[in-house]
Structures are given as structure tokens and as C-alpha cells.
């Protein structure tokens, strides 16, 4: 499908035997009542996966899905209907269903004229798609991972490794005549290792990927690094002691601990929650919500990143949005609907899981800019605290601002030195003030390795996070030791 990778809009038009006239007529049906906006979202997605457990690559899977979603917006109302059969008749039916949200027509609206495709970024132009790899070659890699992990330490009892790759083609056409299309590759390698010593059993997990092809995993032997990190984490956790309980100084390591930002501030700054006034951050633009050391951005334009997109799922090119600048709240993440209602500009953050879902404001890659401290200085500054380097998932209650994220690899800091590993523990804080307690920011900004998936209102989308090493002067650690 080489041509389609360059001009994906042609792929859809030829695959579904459609022309611009059919798109214009469908949008006409969608706008037959008093609507402000309508769009069509075409999607074709092919995904492949394989996994290894107990040293056998015994699972392979492939799925292909395609469909079209029709959305109609009228004031703050959204009508959405979709079909996995992409025909002119089905599209008209979906358009008629979706437009029921709007009041009956009273004014005249000129017919939609579809224009030239929107210029998109070129953030992940690949020579080959992530799917163009022989199954044997992938299976071979998983077996190497199994061997490398097992030879790391005799206490490794089991290794689970999986590789998932997808290629998604999308085309968005809207009632303003804009047409945007994109080809979105996504790959991910995951390694879980279980270590056992007597009755003590621990797990280590690591992985990574992005909008990259197969070669990415071999550059700098990334596959090996992922494997060794997972194995090491499992072995380290065999010696973990009980985590402390209560409020204390916490140092977060670089990279994936940036999930702090995603939960503590990112969700709370999504346009929909702020338009409705249900976020703890509502009406706080211009106010101090973090220490002056903190500048936080959401950037969908980083090459090859898991959270990046050439255009968002409404056809808007993605951008870099400053959320917090030197501690001051600056901006929200917007899709078209919420931007229009809040009289702001869309930021390229309108995203959706698939054609079966209406878009919402979502994050892309959310991270904090680096500061001046070295990581060593930061750790040395702590008399007693926690140093957390790896995390599982997190969650936030956007209305009261309380958020959690759970450490899966953490250590005690005693008298300025990292000492014993501690068991996993959940950290809980208050989004609008946790960053005011950031007293040191490292010069070692790192983005995560490409494993994040964010869930909101039942929709999952790939995201990225990043953080330099930071010191937080007080956050509650949910350990078991008083």
C-alpha cells in the first residue's frame, strides 16, 4: 500500500468507492437541521500481536477494522453515529441519526465544498510500516528476550514478552470543507519478568515503543535494555522492605514518573471539564498552581513519540501548549467543540479511540521542562524520604483534584543516599497544590520509553509523559510501615 502511505485520502476514496461529492452530500445530510458543525471520521486499522510465555511464542493475533463515524455539533450538544460498513447509504443513515441532536432547520446554509487536504506534520514518516516484519523474525526476538532475562539471574522463574504493532489510516472531513488524512504507525514491546526466591515472588515490568518501525527496537539494543530493566526490577523487589506510610519528601526519577503531571494537572486542564466548571482547575488561568521552578507543556509534535500525531482526530495539526509557565496556569487542552464554546483556539488535542467514539480533549505528550539541579544534588538534599523511579498506573478525581499514582520500583533515601528498595506503594496528592511543593528540578529531563495508555470516559488513547528528576517537599506515601 505504498501510495496510500503518502496520500491516505486516496486510500479511503478508492477503497470505499467514494468521491468528494459523496462526502459533501453526507455532510449535507448531517447539517440538515440547525447544527454548528459536522464531521466524518474514516478509519482503517490493522493490528498484529504476538506473545511469549514459558519460553514459547504461543499467541499470535491479527485484527482489521474499518468504519466511519459521523458527528454533528449544535451549541454544546453532540450527536454521534457510526457504521462499520462504509457505504454512501450507511453514511447517510448515520448522518440522519447523529443530526437528531440539533433543532429543526430554520436558516439557510450553503452546501459544503471539500477543499485540498490540510497540511499535516511529518513526525513519523517511516520507510516500512510496523507490520512489514516476518512473524518468524518477531518470534525470534521474543525468544532472545526470554533467554537474556533468564540468564540475568537464576531466580528468574518466568518471562512474558509481547510485541504489538498497528497501522492506522484516518481521514477527517468537516463541514468547513477541511479534509485531513494521516497514516499512524504504532509499535510496542513489553517485557514482564517474575523472580522467585523461596515463597517470595516479585514482578518486574518494562517496555517501550512509539510511532516507530521494527528497527527502532534494535537501535542501541533497546530490546535488551527493556529486558534487563524488567529483570533487574523483579530481582530488586525480592529485597524490598515495607514502604513507609505518611507524608514525606519524595524524589521522582526522570521519565515515566511524569505520570504525576498527567494525573495531577493534565486531566484537570482538559477543556471539557473546565468549560463545564467541574475541574478543580476551573477559572484558575493566571493563578499560581506550581512553584516557579515548574513549566509544564503538552506537545503532540515530538517526532516518533507514542503520544504524537500529525493531525489530531478532528484534523487539527497538533501543537505545543504551555499548561503551566514558571508556576502560573496558562492554558487548557482543547478540541474544536470546547474551544468554540470557550472562545479559544483548538490546540490539536481532539482525540478518539476509534471511529466508534466521538472526540474529546485529551493529552498527547505531557512533560516538565528541565531545571538546573543535578539528580545527585537532589538526592543528597534529602535527609529521609522516598526515591521512586518506576510506576504502574494512576488516576485522578478531577472535581476534588485528588490524584494517585503507584510506584512499582522505589527506594528509601536516608541521609542523602539511596538505600533499601521498598515495596510498591500508592502516592496520593492534591493536583492544584502538589506542584507548589516542588523545591528542586533536575537538568535530566527524559521522556518515557513509550508505554502510556490513557483512559477517559471509556476511551483509550496512546500518550507520553516526561519529567526531569524532581523533589516534592511533601506528598502522602501509602506504605504499610508507620
Amino acid at each position: 500500500m505504498a501510495d496510500e502511505l503518502v496520500t491516505p485520502e486516496k486510500f479511503f476514496l478508492s477503497r470505499f468507492g467514494m468521491n468528494e461529492n459523496a462526502l459533501e452530500r453526507t455532510l449535507g445530510s448531517a447539517l440538515q437541521r440547525k447544527a454548528d458543525y459536522a464531521d466524518l471520521y474514516f478509519e482503517y486499522r490493522a493490528a498484529e500481536g504476538l506473545s511469549l510465555e514459558e519460553s514459547i511464542v504461543n499467541h499470535t493475533s491479527k485484527s482489521v477494522s474499518q468504519g466511519v463515524g459521523v458527528r454533528v455539533c449544535a451549541e454544546d450538544r453532540t450527536g454521534y453515529a457510526y457504521s462499520d460498513e462504509v457505504t454512501v447509504d450507511r453514511m447517510r443513515l448515520a448522518a440522519e441519526t447523529a443530526c437528531a441532536i440539533a433543532d429543526s432547520r430554520s436558516d439557510y446554509r450553503p452546501a459544503v465544498q471539500v477543499g485540498q487536504p490540510v497540511r499535516r506534520h511529518t513526525l513519523y514518516e517511516l520507510d516500512s510500516t510496523p507490520l512489514d516484519v516476518p512473524l518468524e523474525e518477531r518470534a525470534q526476538l521474543l525468544k532472545r528476550i526470554d533467554e537474556v532475562a533468564r540468564s540475568f539471574d537464576p531466580r528468574i522463574r518466568n518471562v512474558m514478552a509481547s510485541f504489538a504493532a498497528e497501522l492506522k489510516l484516518v481521514m477527517i472531513v468537516n463541514s468547513e470543507g477541511q479534509l485531513a488524512a494521516d497514516v499512524q504507525p504504532l509499535s510496542r514491546l513489553n517485557v514482564s519478568v517474575i523472580a522467585e526466591e523461596g515463597k517470595n515472588r516479585q514482578i518486574g515490568v518494562y517496555g517501550g515503543g512509539g510511532r516507530v518501525d521494527w528497527r527502532y527496537f534494535f537501535e542501541q539494543e533497546r530490546w535488551k535494555e527493556f529486558t534487563l530493566r524488567a529483570a533487574r526490577q523483579a530481582i530488586v523487589n525480592l529485597d524490598a522492605v515495607e514502604a513507609p506510610a505518611g507524608e514525606m519528601v519524595v524524589v521522582l526519577g526522570p521519565g515515566w514518573p511524569g505520570i504525576l503531571l498527567h494525573e495531577a494537572v493534565g486531566h484537570g486542564l482538559e477543556g471539557d471539564f473546565n468549560r463545564k466548571g467541574v475541574s478543580a482547575f476551573a477559572n484558575r488561568i493566571g493563578q499560581q498552581v506550581a512553584s516557579t521552578l515548574c513549566t509544564v507543556v503538552d506537545d503532540g509534535t515530538l517526532p516518533n513519540r507514542r503520544g504524537s500525531l500529525n493531525v489530531d482526530d478532528e484534523g487539527t495539526p497538533t501543537s505545543r501548549t504551555v499548561l503551566i509557565e514558571k508556576g502560573i496556569l496558562r492554558g487548557y487542552l482543547q478540541d474544536r467543540l470546547n474551544a468554540r464554546l470557550m472562545k479559544m483556539a483548538p490546540t490539536g488535542n481532539g482525540r478518539r479511540e476509534s471511529f466508534a467514539h466521538a472526540p474529546m480533549p485529551r493529552m498527547t505528550n505531557t512533560f516538565m521542562l528541565p531545571g538546573d539541579s543535578t539528580p545527585e544534588e537532589i538526592i543528597r538534599s534529602v535527609k529521609r524520604g522516598l526515591y521512586a523511579v518506576s510506576f504502574g498506573g494512576g488516576q485522578v478525581d478531577i472535581t476534588n483534584g485528588k490524584f494517585v499514582f503507584s510506584a512499582s520500583e522505589a527506594y528509601l533515601i536516608e541521609d542523602g543516599a539511596v538505600t533499601r528498595p521498598v515495596k510498591g506503594a500508592t502516592l496520593i496528592g492534591n493536583g492544584p497544590d502538589v506542584l507548589t511543593r516542588v523545591s528542586m528540578v533536575g537538568n535530566d529531563l527524559a521522556l518515557d520509553s513509550g508505554i502510556g495508555t490513557c483512559g477517559k470516559d471509556g476511551q483509550s488513547v496512546p500518550v507520553g509523559v516526561g519529567l526531569p528528576t524532581i523533589r516534592i517537599d511533601g506528598i502522602t506515601v501509602g506504605g504499610t510501615r508507620a
Binding site: H59, N400, G424
Partner: protein
């Protein structure tokens, strides 16, 4: 709702065999739904969906591959089948994989009353219900000043499953869900959300919209003024939904794949005391109208009623055929199946048997402790049982709920937590497929200030 083309599944099986498959499974799923949402009395969203997918697993001896598609046109389907068989040939053989032995397959596909003849509720009526629920919430108290809205969802799906050993089974199920999320605000501007819902396979079993709205409002209001408390050890009472979340974690650890991978704290515990002696847990796939009911599991085995934990003793794991073979046990009819995915394991209707106390008696027994009504985050490690989650709820002093608390965590280890379930209330209600009554755990670490 379109009927499945009855000739399709046998055709797929035949084609797969023609392309060299030694065994085949086909799953056809068709789903339709309408969701409406209102916010502050006005219509906010209307979503209509309709999907059909075909899932396929083929074996070439002991090697297998899974695939799914939404293209039903015969020529492209044939190509899809051929590709899947090729993929299986390239996969490593696994001696434990394979279809269920034919004599295990379900024969009596009894009617479990999973469908409601009302089918999908039209948008107009659905909007009325969502509005009524939200209105009741907004009208409950002047401090309810905002809302994330009220939603009504109705869906209908059909599943047809067939394999090359002659199994063919089909069932349909409807589902209805009414939910509302009002927001309470105190004079200092701080906000708290309340959320409540009712769900069922039959429309008439839903709670009335007014009571859902009032409950949601009550849940938001009682959180106002929540504060952090000092770090302490204390008894923790879990409300029914929070107790059900512990049961979900337990079901995950008791599932065959977790056990054979070495990723469960329940390894080697079959026949052992894993919970306190007052706990009995059932898994009932045959409950009439149950949200977790199905006549056959994801591999065509009959579902059943069984005791998973009896007086604290673990009687069985939850097993599909693969994990049962790995563990040298019998499958339990708990295979679950996503379209085009290998079988997984899930409980059916999974519940903790109610006890003798009222929830008030359970709370009343606590001198100083926590009543948990909210849990957030993913801090449950099913390998070790280590448990640490963000919590919110109400503080208990001398058996009374005295003030709301938030920004705290509760932590322990599931093995110890289950062994120290001290009291079980009588308030079991079927709100989802996994349910529990109010329970009290004798002590946990609560981290706060």
C-alpha cells in the same frame, strides 16, 4: 437487529479446513446500542452504534492463531481465513493448546432470560429517564450546583460461537444502565462529585430515576468538607461497591492464567484457608437475568454454579481449557472471549455470600476507623498481594460516621486482608456481575498527614 447468516459459521469452518486448519473456532458478534446524555436539564449527547465482527481461531495441530475482521464479503473473508491459517503455521506448537474435548461441550443451552423484549430504548424515552435522574439529583439540595450529567444506555448483543467439533451455540443479551453524576459545592468553592447508577438486563429491574438521582446527590453531599487525617492503623469498613473491588482483585489472582504464569498470590493455595472462616464466595453463570450469566463460556463449555471459597477455603481456581491443562485440573467453564482473541478467564456472577449483620451494625462495631466509599488508582499487585490505593470515605468514631475524609491511602496485603474479614453485612445487591455486601477488615494502614 440483523440475524446472523446461519450458513456463515459452517462455511468459515469448512474454508479454514480447506486451507489446512486441523481445528477451528468461529465467533460472530453483533451489537447495537443507544446512549443519551443530559446535562443541567439539556440534551448533551446522543450516540448510536451498531457493529458486527467475526473472530476466528485456527489450529494447525498444536499451533494456533487468532484474528478478527468486520468484512463479511465472502472473497475477502476467504483471504482472511487463509492468512490466519498461514499465521498459525508460523506459530510455535504448544502441546497444551487445542479445542476442548468434545464431551465437555455444552449441550443444553438453557434460556437464562438475558433479553428484554423492549430491546433498545428509543432516544426520546431514554432522555426522559436521564433527565428525571439528573433533576432529582439537582433538586436534592441547594449545594448541588453543577453536574457532569445523567446518562441512559441501552444495548443489545448477540453471540454465535461454533467450532469444528460440532459445537454451535448462540445467545443474545440486552443491557440497560442509568447513571448520574451531580456535583456538590460548599461555600468555600470546593467541589465533590457523587456518582450512582443502576444496571440490569431487564428494563423493569432498574431503580427508579428519582432514587438514583437522590442517592448520587447524597453521595456528593456527604463528601463536602472532606479532610485528611493523621497516619494511623485502624479497622476499615468497605461499602458494597468497594468490597466488590476486592473481590475483583481476588478473581484475577484466582484465574488459571495468573496461577500457571507464577503471577498470583494464590499459587499452591487450593484447599487452603485463604480467607477468614466467615467468607463464602460463589460463581454462578446460570443466574436468571444475571449481568454475568451466559449459557456457555468462551470455548463452548457449559457455565455452572460453584463455590469458589467455602468458609474461607479456596475450593477452585477459575479455569479455561488451556490453563486447566497447564495446571492438570479440570476446566471450570470460565473461559471469556474477546472477538478474535485467545480465550481468557473471567468470573460469571461472582459474589460474596451475605452475613448476618446490618451495615449499621458493622459500622457501629468500630470504635475508631474508616468507612471507605471511594478508591482510586491501580495499586494492587496480584503477584504479591500487596495493596495500596487512594481512598475517600467517612471517619468512624464510636460507631458513628462523623466526618468525610480524603487524600489518604489504605494499604496492606490482600492475603492478610482477606484473612481478617471480621464482619459481613446482609446488604448484597446485584448491581453488576461482581458484587459483595459491606465488609469490615479488622486493621489496615491508613496513610494521611
Amino acid at each position: 437487529m440483523d440475524q446472523f447468516d446461519q450458513a456463515l459459521a459452517p462455511w468459515v469452518v469448512d474454508q479454514a479446513r480447506r486451507h489446512g486448519a486441523s481445528a477451528v473456532e468461529v465467533m460472530l458478534v453483533s451489537a447495537e446500542s443507544i446512549t443519551v446524555g443530559v446535562r443541567l436539564g439539556e440534551v448533551e449527547k446522543l450516540k448510536s452504534s451498531r457493529e458486527r465482527r467475526l473472530g476466528l481461531r485456527v489450529f494447525v495441530d498444536h499451533a494456533s492463531a487468532n484474528a478478527s475482521t468486520a468484512e463479511f464479503e465472502r472473497a475477502s473473508l476467504d483471504q482472511f481465513i487463509q492468512n490466519t491459517v498461514t499465521m498459525a503455521r508460523l506459530t510455535a506448537p504448544d502441546p497444551f493448546s487445542g479445542l476442548p474435548e468434545p464431551d465437555r461441550q455444552a449441550r443444553d443451552l438453557c434460556d437464562l432470560e438475558l433479553t428484554d423484549s423492549r430491546g433498545i430504548i428509543a432516544a426520546d424515552e431514554a432522555l426522559k429517564l436521564a433527565r428525571a435522574a439528573e433533576k432529582a439529583a439537582l433538586g436534592a439540595d441547594p449545594r448541588i450546583r453543577n453536574s457532569e450529567g445523567g446518562d441512559f444506555h441501552s444495548g443489545f448483543y448477540s453471540v454465535l460461537f461454533a467450532n469444528s467439533n460440532g459445537f454451535v451455540g448462540e445467545y443474545s443479551a440486552s443491557s440497560y444502565n442509568l447513571a448520574v453524576a451531580p456535583i456538590a459545592q460548599s461555600d468555600d468553592g470546593r467541589m465533590q462529585q457523587g456518582y450512582w447508577y443502576s444496571a440490569g438486563r431487564h428494563f423493569h429491574t432498574l431503580d427508579d430515576p428519582e432514587s438514583i438521582g437522590k442517592t448520587a446527590a447524597h453521595r456528593a453531599l456527604r463528601r463536602l468538607g472532606a479532610r485528611k487525617i493523621k497516619t494511623t492503623r485502624a479497622p476499615v469498613v468497605f461499602d458494597p461497591d468497594m468490597a466488590a473491588s476486592l473481590l475483583r482483585a481476588f478473581a484475577g489472582a484466582a484465574s488459571g492464567p495468573s496461577v500457571y504464569k507464577g503471577a498470583s498470590f494464590l499459587i499452591g493455595q487450593l484447599g487452603h484457608q485463604v480467607m477468614s472462616a466467615n467468607v463464602t464466595i460463589h460463581d454462578d453463570g446460570r443466574m436468571l437475568g444475571g449481568l454475568g450469566s451466559r449459557p456457555f463460556d468462551g470455548e463452548g463449555l457449559p457455565t455452572n454454579r460453584k463455590i469458589v471459597v467455602e468458609k474461607g477455603v479456596l475450593k477452585t481456581y477459575l479455569l479455561d481449557c488451556y490453563s486447566a491443562r497447564k495446571l492438570k485440573l479440570e476446566p471450570t467453564g470460565n473461559a471469556s472471549r474477546g472477538v478474535g482473541e485467545a480465550p481468557g478467564v473471567s468470573p460469571t456472577n461472582f459474589y460474596l455470600e451475605p452475613g448476618p449483620y446490618t451495615p449499621e451494625q458493622v459500622i457501629g462495631s468500630v470504635k475508631r476507623g474508616l468507612y471507605v466509599t471511594e478508591l482510586i488508582g491501580f495499586g494492587v499487585n496480584s503477584v504479591t498481594g500487596d495493596y495500596s490505593r487512594g481512598a475517600g470515605g467517612l471517619w468512624i468514631e464510636d460507631g458513628q460516621l462523623v466526618f468525610p475524609v480524603q487524600e489518604i491511602t489504605i494499604a496492606g496485603n490482600l492475603k492478610e486482608m482477606f484473612m481478617s474479614i471480621e464482619m459481613i453485612a446482609n446488604d448484597l445487591r446485584w448491581r453488576s456481575a461482581i458484587v459483595a455486601p459491606t465488609i469490615k477488615i479488622s486493621e489496615m494502614m491508613i496513610a494521611g498527614e
